[in-house]
Amino acid sequence: MKELLEKIRQEAREAIERASNIDELNAARIRFSGKKGELTAILKQMGGLSAEERPVIGQMANEVRGNIETWISEKENELKSMLSEMKLKNERIDVTLPGKAGKIGKKHPLSIVLNEIEEIFVGMGFDVVQGPEVEYDYYNFEALNIPKDHPARDTQDTFYITDNILLRTQTSSVQIRTMEHRKPPIRVISPGRVYRSDAVDATHSPLFHQIEGLVVDKGVTMAGLKGTLEVFIKALYGEDSKVRFRPHHFPFTEPSAEMDVMCFACQGKGCRLCKGEGWIELLGCGMVHPKVLKNCGIDPEIYSGFAFGLGLERVVMRRFNIDDMRLLYENNQRFLNQF
């Protein structure tokens, strides 16, 4: 019987090894260790053995069964993983084919930069406020220390609706509206559309965007103006950026300044971008004129303030290297999709 068992073990091992799929393996399982299998058949003959032989053969039969079951289970695992490998292989795809998700829309470059600027100022404790675009002469000029016959009106060719109502030429009008409605301390910026009767070309548009800033409180100084704008510019253009302030004139600030940023292209050496000056004019600013504070019912002997105004288009065009302002208002997808 020992020989028989050994033979079964041998044959089972070979049959299992030969099995190339689950069916053949199952056939081997049935043949050797099934209820009607060869091993069972042998075990049924156990009754005819002597008492000495029986435990020996029994142990051996169990051993053989154990072997067969182990081999089958090993082979089964092997076959399963082969099968799944094959299945996966058949499912191979070209991972470089284009994705299927719908296209995401793009924000307009003006909004991208404006949102960034808003975030910078909100982080510095400023609120974002709005004012009307169709505005009274009073808010756009008169209250800003630009009376009817002031020569500064000349430099801002104005679209009029009536003698008294116009399209605002500057967001500075919101300074007045803010100071009328809020008491100091005031810290606001006001972005929006402004209008001047400039014919459309690569650097002019009858409609463009400004961002006005206003701070009014006790003890606001020109040093504070410089510090605030420097922080802003470093946040917008990076820690390395350099600015300079130079005297200028606006009717509603005194002292007034223009702020230049050192040319990014030539680092101040002078190049084509900065027209050889090494600096690029970026914004106008100054200490709020005492007359303007007074016009808004704020006592200039107690409070002081500073204001600034920045043209958004200029910043956007420089940021993205856009050389023609018209592109911003043409809304061609091929343009918008680039941002």
Binding site: K103, I104, G105, K106, K107, H108, L110, S111, V122, G123, M124, G125, F126, D127, E133, V134, E135, K148, H150, P151, D154, F159, Y160, I161, I165, L167, P185, R187, R193, Y195, S197, A199, P206, L207, V215, D217, G219, V220, T221, M222, A223, G224, K226, G227, V231, F245, R246, P247, H248, H249, P255, E258, M287, P290, K291, Y329, N331, Q333, R334, L336
Partner: protein, 790 residues
């Protein structure tokens, strides 16, 4: 303002190079736009002296000259001009020379004779016979006077001035002059500047014996000064005047005209010189023009005057438009013998409005309209007389007619050092402030500052702070952070708008930015009826053109233009949005209502009504607008009558969406089907769900039931959904349409609609009987609409 550095150096000397000069002037507030060196294109052209002239052996019209150019033996040059002579000093372009027209001169042979350069004409050096009165146009430029052969021609002719272009801000008309900039230069560099006081050596007679001046409108003419010069000899001005004028961009004409221009540039005070024999009745009257009055100005144009314009008249008729342009015949002629200098001050705003109305803008009007200093009139007229005497151009007549309607009053401001330091945040000493002011022509005694007449812009201690700061240096003011705490926060509304945008971007819509003004023709293009209220728009009085002449009342045209442009640029499909402002007029003296409106536009590709509606749904979902529905709109003229719906938020019409009417699309040249939505953002914002609270997740399973019904083709889904909802009541969790079918087995004019109902109770598992009952309720409700189970 173009400043001749040569002229500047007559009054103030600085020892810095031009680059530093420009940088420091810019930083003290006189912004330099650029600078140029005169004739710097001319290279290697020198003075030559002709020492020998021979005829060309082979050409009748050519001459062979030997020219001493200061280096060794005379060189040989062939010329075609016949005005040369031995001993003449001429400009010689040497071998390798460059001329302003870009021509390079090379050695060569002319008809076999060697020529080592070229003798130049006036034109070849890009100067004119006005600049050099002795010279002729056609021929070699024979220099006037003695020169050293070999000297650079630019130096010899004074063509080497440097001209700096300043941007002068409107508050500083005093800097539109050589003297004003000299003062700024001195203050910037700490150099000495002394005001020149004109002196006239000899006067004879009295102007009052010949002339009377009457100013009838003292408001428009605060000052009028007249002086007289007799025995005038009209001739060219001397070189030093001509070269200063030329560098400043003014063409020299004759001594008298040149003197008025010279004084205008030097003092910033426009002057007018006229022939006294032309003043009828010996009387000058300054008055408003009369109704219907006309004048033919110097340029030969007849101009109609209006009553608000100021004119200078004699006893008969207007001879000049005050401060703007003289009348014809009023100028100086070659035979003028006695002339009158007018040095007057006119109200800036009046000059500006007159110059606009007449369409004349010139140096004079440009100066006056900035608002000049009346005190400067006297200085200028004295300087003019001084120059006339110095040039020997005439004899100054004694006496001055001075009509002064605005006697100057000194303005005084208290010097407040502490306030200035605190205001600027910079430690600038009182001493520094005083010195800066004094160098600018202010007087300071103790703590009282007296403002000079030409600084009308200085009124307040903040102005004094600016004077101190700009000479101290803005860059030296330290930087500091603003004090105090402040809370910066976007408002709910600002965050709401961003939330709208995020949803749209996720739906593949790109943001557009369009002009707020449109052409009124758009209202025809979107098929608004002629009497539509929506045509009533804010109209711009002075638009650039019709295309931008009204403020849009409806932003759909803006979107259609975007789509049109894209479609025509062969972008075959697209989705856009803009939160655009629409301008709704109120009463004429009131500001309009500026309505933020969400415009969505889509065309081509997979876009259809339902794609658009899906975008709208996504937006509402994202911003928490829940209480809304749509209702078919068959009437809006802009939209396809059967593919358009009103958007109703909380019972109020708050927008519209649909397919653009094919005629409208055609009007905009759009070939593809186009879809637009227009929704008022205010309505969305007001009806957003502000508070969000958690609802427990369901504990019991839902039961699903599908029903298919047949109904009339025109029966709307919304009505059926509402009926199902109302019929079943609380246990209906969701009703979802999943199929619409027409075709075989369905009668003509009918459709089959299938809904999936989700039923659930919060407190138990529904039984089959309960679910069946709910379906039965729904079906009986639907039956009333004529919809029957299929």
């Amino acid at each position: 303002m173009d400043l001749s550095m040569r002229w500047l150096s007559d009054y103030v000397k600085t020892d810095v190079d031009i680059k530093e000069y420009i940088a420091r002037m810019t930083m003290s507030g006189s912004k330099v736009e650029g600078y140029s060196t005169e004739c710097d294109e001319i290279k290697n052209v020198v003075v030559g002296k002709i020492v020998e002239i021979e005829k060309h052996p082979d050409a009748d019209k050519l001459l062979v000259c030997k020219v001493d150019v200061g280096s060794g033996a005379p060189i040989q040059i062939v010329t075609g001009a016949d005005n040369v002579f031995c001993g003449a000093f001429v400009p010689v372009a040497l071998d390798g020379a460059e001329l302003p027209n870009g021509v390079k001169i090379k050695k060569g042979k002319l008809r076999g004779v060697e020529s080592c350069g070229m003798l130049c004409s006036v034109g070849e050096l890009k100067v004119t016979v006005n600049d050099f009165p002795g010279a002729i146009e056609n021929g070699i430029f024979i220099l006037d006077g003695e020169y050293k052969p070999g000297q650079d021609i630019r130096e010899a002719l004074g063509l080497n001035d440097t001209v700096v272009e300043f941007e002068i801000t409107p508050n500083r008309p005093d800097c539109l002059s050589v003297l004003g900039l000299a003062r700024e230069t001195a203050a910037t560099f700490g150099a000495r500047f002394e005001e020149h006081i004109p002196k006239i050596k000899k006067e004879s007679g009295n102007i009052n014996d010949f002339l009377k001046v009457e100013v009838r409108n003292g408001k428009l003419c605060p000052r009028y000064i007249a002086r007289m010069v007799k025995n005038v000899k009209i001739e060219p001005s001397p070189k030093w005047i001509r070269e200063r004028l030329r560098a400043s961009g003014v063409r020299p004409i004759n001594n008298i005209v040149d003197v008025t221009n010279f004084v205008m540039l030097e003092y910033g005070q426009p002057m007018h010189a006229f022939d006294s024999s032309r003043v009828a009745g010996g009387k000058i009257i300054v008055r408003n023009a009369e109704k219907g009055e006309k004048i033919t100005t110097l340029d030969g144009v007849e101009r109609a005057l209006t009553e608000d314009m100021l004119v200078i008249c004699d006893s008969e008729k207007p001879s000049a438009v005050a401060g703007i342009m003289g009348g014809e015949y009023s100028g100086i002629e070659a035979d003028s013998k006695t002339i009158i200098f007018e040095s007057a001050n006119f109200l800036g705003s009046s000059i500006r409005s007159t110059s606009r109305k007449l369409g004349i803008r010139n140096e004079s009007s440009g100066c006056f309209e900035k608002g000049l200093d009346p005190e400067n009139c006297m200085k200028a007229v004295m300087r003019a007389c001084e120059l006339v005497e110095e040039l020997g151009a005439g004899e100054v007549v004694g006496g001055i007619i001075d009509v002064n309607n605005a006697p100057f009053e000194n303005r005084k401001i208290k010097l407040d050092g502490d306030w200035t330091r605190e205001f600027l945040g910079a430690d600038i000493s009182d001493e520094f402030i005083k010195n800066a002011l004094i160098s600018e022509g202010f007087e300071v005694s103790g703590d009282v500052i007296t403002v000079p007449s030409w600084r009308g812009d200085v009124e307040h201690k903040a102005d004094i702070a600016e004077e101190a700061a700009r000479f101290y240096g803005y860059d030296k003011i330290p930087t500091s952070q603003i004090m105090g705490t402040s809370r910066g926060l976007l408002t709910q509304r600002q965050r709401f708008d961003r939330s709208i945008e995020n949803a749209l971007l996720g739906c593949g819509c790109s943001e557009a930015a369009t002009y707020s003004f449109i052409s009124p023709k758009n209202y025809d293009k979107i098929r608004l009826p002629a009497d539509s209220e929506e045509r009533n728009s804010i109209v711009i009085m002075n638009p650039l053109g019709e295309d931008t002449s009204i403020m849009r009342r409806n932003a759909i045209p803006s979107m259609l233009e975007v789509i049109s442009r894209n479609s025509n640029n062969r972008n075959i499909e697209g989705r856009f949005y803009e939160i655009a402002t629409e301008y709704e007029p109120k009463k004429s003296d009131e500001l309009p209502n500026e309505k933020p409106t969400l415009i969505i536009g889509a065309y081509g590709g997979n876009n259809d009504y339902f794609a658009l509606k899906g975008i709208v749904e996504a937006v509402f979902e994202n911003v928490g607008v829940e209480n809304w529905e749509v209702a078919a709109n068959f009437k809006d003229p802009t939209f396809h009558p059967y593919r358009c719906a009103d958007i109703i938020i909380n019972g109020k019409k708050s927008g519209i969406m649909g397919e653009i009417h094919p005629e409208v699309a055609e009007n905009y040249g759009i070939a593809q089907r186009t879809y637009c939505a227009r929704i008022y953002v205010d309505d969305m914002f007001e009806n957003r769900k502000v508070e969000k609270t958690y609802k427990p997740l369901p504990k019991y399973p839902a039961t699903q039931r599908d029903i298919a019904i047949v109904c009339d083709m025109d029966l709307e889904n919304l009505e059926m959904e509402k009926t199902i909802t109302d019929s079943i009541g609380k246990i209906l969790e969701k009703v979802e349409l999943f199929d619409i079918y027409t075709g075989s087995q369905i009668p003509q004019g009918k459709k089959s609609v299938a809904y999936s109902l989700t039923l659930r109770a919060a407190d138990r598992t529904l039984t089959d009987e309960e679910a069946d009952k709910a379906v039965a309720k729904a079906l009986s409700g639907l039956e009333k609409l004529g919809a029957v189970l299929r």
